[in-house]
């Protein structure tokens, strides 16, 4: 969907109002969506789509995806979560995924940062170094 410059500008303004104390306020998001649906301003679909994207990107910043080759036990999960909360000043939502292609180890993604300690990643780095 083609989003106009104006729609992007409006979405940016709405996003500013949505983020409070560095976090997305779900109540404000719901309110913004409801008002947009109700008032249907010019190019509202574009605004909603751009706003949706900005909200998704902001939420990704406080969402961690932990990938591992096998399912993690409770103890490991607690340790990983504690480490992540410490690194990112708390309030991270954590999602666990099992990705057998990793062979072993773990890969954590928060926003666009990736911490790769998987065997697959290490092998790739070894290949890179040896050439």
């Amino acid at each position: 969907m083609k989003v106009s410059k104006e729609a992007r500008r409006v979405a940016r303004q709405l996003m500013k109002a949505t983020v409070k104390g560095g976090r997305v306020d779900p109540a404000v998001v719901r309110q913004v969506v409801a008002r947009l649906k109700e008032l249907k301003p010019r190019g509202y679909l574009g605004v909603m789509s751009a706003y949706g994207r900005l909200v998704r990107m902001e939420l990704e910043k406080s969402h961690a995806v932990v990938e591992s080759a096998v399912g993690l036990d409770e103890k490991t999960r607690a340790a990983v979560e504690a480490d992540l909360q410490k690194k990112y000043d708390g309030a991270l939502t954590v999602e666990y995924q099992v990705v057998p292609e990793l062979i072993g180890g773990m890969r954590v993604r928060v926003g666009s940062d990736v911490w790769d300690g998987s065997v697959k990643g290490r092998l790739a780095r070894l290949k890179e170094r040896i050439g």
Binding site: R53, V114, G117, R122, R125, I130
Partner: protein, 511 residues
């Protein structure tokens, strides 16, 4: 054997505990050699981005939610949703003396099938030009071997001299002749025939040209033995617009290595019109706002930052230099178009080639009136300066008078003399392609012209006389020629010897 095993084991041990942090993004859109990537929050401008399959891209547009990357390859297998990562590196090319004799692409990878290049170093493609302090003014000549250029539009080391003209007017030939001349001089210096010569290494950058043309140029350079001192950077018409846009910068980085290491380099950009077109394509697919002739707003900066990298460094900085010969192709002789005016204003002079002159058989078809060298005269060899002082003026006056002479034959003696001299100078400056003349031959011929030794030779015999004179001087007066080449000034003694030699030649010459 055990060493390599130990090395491997230590590498593995190092990796065992390591967790790497990287910055990633997701491809949202791909097409026309451009990928829009979401994420990549830590990306730098012009940073290399790694795509799946070992393909690299260059981050050119950093926007609020997206990064616009141009792909440095085909990228047919990239699809939406693919993960990409930053590398923390700016685009670099291999540089060094081992590049000489090789043909490389815009990324510095060899394309001549002669195997890998063991480069001494690597340089970033984009680099800020040397500032004011490390520079010094141009004072050493680049002997192009083209008499018309060396006599009237001298080029100095560190200068930027534009070669401009319509299609098929001999622009590339001038550049190739210059490269061949440098190779001849470098070889002569190595063999001890040329005193106090600083070797000049050449880089030929082919942008958006037909592969056949590039192959022909390379074979010409090989035949003349010039490839030993030359690097060819090729981004032909079949390469992506990104590679065509990067090739001149890559060539420039290769030249800068020579300059930074106290050596002299000459770089030919063939041609910057096609470079601007490639950049326009990249900018349009990146959806940057377009301006005049649909070129982006920074097309001036595109060429100014490239050509500003040519410089002559002072002795504290090694005393190296990089001379640039950019080429611009005009449409129907229009020098006032957008790109030609930009490059004319950036460079330190231009050699303007005219179609009319070319078809009149005056080759190189240099238009004396429109060609100029703003800084080169300071670098001109004293001997050439002495014998070519009034040549440009004589020729300009001749062109003016020639128009009058067409209307009637009642001309005063002075005008007649001027026209006759002019006709002979025009003949003298005609030169076949790929045969640059050494300095001493140029000096002798210009001296002969200045002192009237050609006045009694019929205009259509000037070329023949010139040929025989060269043969006579190089075979029978080689010690005199060597003396001119060594001293590079016309002392009274040399003038007397030269006069005697020319008298002797004229007495035996039957025109």
């Amino acid at each position: 054997m055990s060493n390599i095993l130990q090395e491997l084991e230590s590498e593995i041990a190092g990796l065992k505990t390591s967790v790497s942090k990287s910055n990633v993004g997701v491809v949202r859109e791909i097409g026309d050699g451009v990928a829009k990537v979401e994420g990549l929050s830590d990306v730098m401008l012009n940073e290399m981005i790694e795509f799946p399959g070992g393909l690299y891209g260059l981050a050119l547009n950093l926007e609020e939610t997206e990064v616009g990357c141009v792909l440095l390859g085909e990228g047919r297998e990239i699809k939406e949703g693919d993960e990409v990562r930053t590398t923390g590196k700016l685009l670099q090319v291999p540089v060094g003396k081992s590049m000489l004799g090789r043909v490389v692409n815009a990324l510095g990878q060899p394309v001549d099938g002669k195997g890998d290049i063991a480069a001494e170093d690597s340089y970033p493609v984009e680099k800020i030009a040397p500032g004011i302090i490390p520079r010094q003014s141009v004072s050493q000549p680049v002997q192009t071997g083209i008499m018309a250029v060396d006599a009237m539009i001298p080029i100095g080391r560190g200068q930027r001299e534009l070669i401009i003209g319509d299609r098929a007017t001999g622009k590339t030939t001038i550049a190739v002749d210059t490269i061949i001349s440098q190779a001849n001089q470098n070889r002569a210096a190595e063999e001890g025939r040329l005193k106090d010569h600083r070797p000049l290494y050449c880089i030929y950058v082919a942008v958006g040209q037909k592969m056949s043309n590039v192959a022909r140029t390379i074979s010409t350079l090989e035949e003349a033995g010039a490839m030993d001192y030359t690097v060819v950077v090729s981004a032909s018409a079949s390469d992506t617009a990104t590679n065509q846009y990067l090739a001149p910068y890559a060539g420039c980085a290769i030249g800068e290595w020579f300059m930074d290491n106290g050596m002299d380099a000459l770089i030919v950009f063939d041609d910057l019109s096609k470079h601007a077109v490639a950049y326009r394509q990249v900018s349009l697919v990146l959806r940057r706002p377009s301006g005049r002739e649909a070129y982006p707003g920074d097309v001036f900066y595109l060429h100014s930052r490239l050509l500003e990298r040519s410089a002559r460094l002072n002795e504290d900085n090694g005393g190296g230099s990089m001379t640039a010969l950019p080429i611009i192709e005009t449409q129907a002789g229009d020098v006032s178009a957008y790109i030609p005016t930009n490059v004319i204003s950036i460079t330190d002079g231009q050699i303007y080639l005219e179609t009319d002159l070319f078809y009149q058989g005056i080759r190189p078809a240099i238009s004396v009136g429109l060609s100029v060298s703003r800084v080169g005269s300071a670098a001109q060899t004293k001997a050439i300066k002495k014998v070519s002082g009034t040549t440009k003026l004589d020729l300009a006056q001749f062109r003016e008078m020639q128009a009058f002479a067409q209307f009637g034959s009642d001309l005063d003696d002075k005008t007649k003399k001027l026209i006759e001299r002019g006709q002979r100078i025009v003949e003298l400056f005609k030169q076949p392609q790929y045969s640059p003349l050494p300095l001493e031959v140029q000096v002798a011929q210009l001296f002969a012209m200045q002192n009237g030794y050609f006045d009694d030779v019929a205009v259509d015999k000037v070329e023949d006389c010139q040929e025989k004179m060269t043969e006579y001087l190089t075979t029978r007066k080689d010690s005199l020629m060597q003396k001119i080449s060594d001293e590079k000034v016309l002392s009274d003694e040399i003038v007397a010897d030269l006069k005697a030699a020319l008298e002797d030649f004229k007495s035996s010459y039957k025109g």
